[in-house]
């Protein structure tokens, strides 16, 4: 692979347009989103862990700071929804991935059906959890 990349990088040939000219199928969008959500969630967990080590003050004091901002309930619900939806999407799509690993649901129509199911479940579970 290293030879492949070295040869192609040094040849400075133009790259044929692909992402900009072909339609993006749903499985492709969902796969990229799965990775994107994973990256965001990992960043969040790392930020949380690192700030526990580096930032002074305990969790309760930080929560009190947020409480003192007196944010409206609509904004709080939106924030909770924004926090929980990448987690829900990644979890439901993760189950879909694990099904594929078992060899199930790999036909084209099943791909689209399970994909839509994941999207619906994500929205419903995110709405529900944010309301708790």
């Amino acid at each position: 692979m290293e030879r492949f990349w070295n040869k192609n990088r040094s040849s400075s040939r133009p790259l044929s347009p692909h992402l900009t000219i072909y339609r993006w199928p749903l499985p492709m969008i969902m796969s990229a989103s799965h990775r994107g959500c994973g990256l965001v969630l990992s960043a969040g967990v790392s930020l949380f862990g690192l700030s526990a080590l580096l930032i002074p003050g305990n969790f309760e004091s930080h929560l009190d700071l947020v409480k003192s901002l007196c944010l409206g309930p609509a904004l709080i619900y939106t924030a909770k929804f924004a926090l929980v939806s990448p987690l829900m999407y990644h979890a439901w799509n993760g189950i879909r991935h694990l099904m594929w690993d078992l060899g199930k649901g790999l036909k084209m129509h099943q791909l689209y059906q399970s994909g839509v199911a994941v999207l619906v479940l994500t929205v419903l579970s995110s709405l529900g959890l944010a309301a708790m």
């Binding site: 290293e2 862990g49 969790f59 309760e60 929560l63 709080i76």
Partner: protein, 156 residues
């Protein structure tokens, strides 16, 4: 063109692993002219990336480990809600950081090319994961812990 694949992996010279594809391939004649068949007709050599040099067994175990931790983490989410406790906090911290580390490792493998760059990226990733885990354990020990923290945040 109907192609049936059957793979058998064997070690090649100079550490590069060669994949022998035994394919009863039906392909047009002009394509055959470009593909260099070696010893036996219908057998092609494909060289895998250096990361596969370390042995199929280790890679296979890693793959299985990834799935096991994924399932474990999926189970921990409702379990932590139904039974929040200190053990759950530490299990979540471990599963979360391990899943995250392995997931980010796949991203690095996909987008970081070159031996030294990849090694450096993986090393940096390991440091980040270790620090994250340390931070979460610190939080679990000295502060309210992950389960309680989520509950407190949600009561906001």
């Amino acid at each position: 063109m109907a192609v049936f694949w059957r793979l058998s992996v064997s070690c090649g010279a100079k550490g590069a692993r060669a994949l022998f594809l035994r394919t009863p391939v039906v392909r047009p004649a002009h394509v055959s002219a470009f593909l260099q068949d070696r010893s036996t007709p219908g057998v092609q050599h494909i060289h895998l990336s250096p990361s596969h040099r370390s042995g199929g067994k280790a890679a296979s175990l890693h793959w299985s480990g990834e799935r096991v931790v994924s399932v474990l983490l999926l189970g921990l989410l409702p379990a932590a809600y139904l039974n929040p406790c200190s053990a759950m906090d530490y299990s979540l911290a471990a599963a979360l950081t391990l899943h995250s580390n392995w997931g980010l490792g796949q991203v690095v493998t996909d987008y970081v090319h070159g031996d030294t760059s990849q090694k450096a990226a993986k090393a940096g990733l390991l440091v980040l994961s270790a620090l994250t885990f340390a931070g979460l354990c610190y939080f679990n020990y000295h502060d309210v812990g992950i389960c309680k923290a989520v509950a407190m945040l949600w009561k906001l």
